[in-house]
């Protein structure tokens, strides 16, 4: 057999896919590993989001908005905060919960309650994901 005949032949032989009996098992195992990896990835992202959220809330609460009352930023933040609280108060009024005064001293308490609720939701999501994994 000459090299001219042999080279195409060896290419053909190598290109033939062997028939393996456990092909379906191989595919199923790989897909299970892909699913598992995906869940772990989701779990890790949730955990990172939770930690990041908690840090952001903590930093936001500790930020001293009254440090320099004359800056545009401080005034803007104050205006936005007042608008948000006003909107929330309107919502509470429409729900018949107008007695809760967000504009008063309980505003910070409401903020913490909301932050706690968000954190609890994230934690519940993380727990559910971990149960799925």
């Amino acid at each position: 057999m000459s090299a001219d005949e042999f080279d195409p032949m060896i290419e053909r032989l190598f290109s033939r896919t062997p028939t393996l009996a456990d092909e379906a098992l191989f595919v199923a195992t790989l897909q299970a590993r892909l699913e598992k990896r995906s869940r772990w990835r989701g779990l890790a992202l949730t955990a990172a989001g939770l930690v990041g959220g908690v840090l952001a809330v903590r930093e936001g609460v500790n930020f001293n908005f009254s440090g320099d009352p004359d800056t545009t930023l401080t005034q803007g933040v104050r205006t936005a905060a007042a608008a948000a609280q006003g909107a929330a108060q309107t919502g509470l009024d429409s729900l018949g919960l107008g007695s809760i005064d967000l504009m008063g001293g309980s505003g910070m308490l409401a903020f913490w309650i909301a932050a706690g609720a968000v954190a609890a939701l994230l934690a519940a999501g993380a727990v559910k994901l971990s149960q799925d994994v």
Binding site: M1, M9, F14, T17, L20, E23, L30, Q31, L34
Partner: protein
């Protein structure tokens, strides 16, 4: 109407897999899993090791799917990943210290008289077998093989040539009376 997975081309499946489509990637695995496992076995991996490396290769392929843009075939792309992973595994286990002696198996012919590449490959030394498999099975160039195996380019060329010469001698058609035909 959307096409079923089986109707999609490898490039389309790979694009969807790159966007996180695990079902689409599963179809690619179904299409090319056996080819990758077969290549690794031809390179000398035991079946369990071949399956293990093939699984790792496909997992890595899923993460790197966005790198495949259809320049070659998906099979070729994933085979190269698998071959490199196998070489790393082998290097880690220091199995290249000594080359295995080629056994003197009988000329390879299956029951139907067709040429059995797998049997013939077993007559090559381990390095020849890997080099030939990488070259003709994984479609790697000699410089790519040299880089992957950390061998000089000339050495790789020699191994491929010697391996092919041995394969040619083994795989040559057998005449009706059982005598080998002349090797050209």
């Amino acid at each position: 109407m959307s096409k079923s997975l089986r109707d999609l081309h490898d490039v389309e499946l790979a694009a969807q897999a790159a966007a996180g489509g695990r079902r689409e990637y599963g179809e690619l695995v179904r299409r090319h899993g056996s080819a990758v496992r077969g290549l690794l076995r031809r390179m000398g991996a035991a079946p369990s090791l071949a399956d293990d490396v093939a699984q790792d290769a496909f997992l890595q392929g899923f993460q790197r799917c966005s790198e495949f843009r259809g320049q070659g075939t998906f099979a070729g792309w994933i085979k190269k990943i698998a071959a490199r992973l196998y070489l790393k595994r082998v290097a880690r286990e220091a199995r290249y210290v000594a080359e295995a002696e080629a056994d003197e198996a009988a000329p390879a012919q299956d029951q139907a008289g067709s040429m059995d590449l797998d049997e013939a490959l077993r007559t090559l030394s381990e390095t020849e077998r890997v080099c030939v498999s990488l070259c003709h099975g994984a479609g790697m160039s000699h410089p790519e093989i040299a880089a992957a195996m950390n061998l000089p380019l000339g050495t790789v060329k020699s191994h491929v040539k010697r391996g092919l010469d041995k394969l040619r001698a083994r795989l040559q058609p057998v005449a009706a009376d059982g005598r080998s035909l002349h090797v050209g």
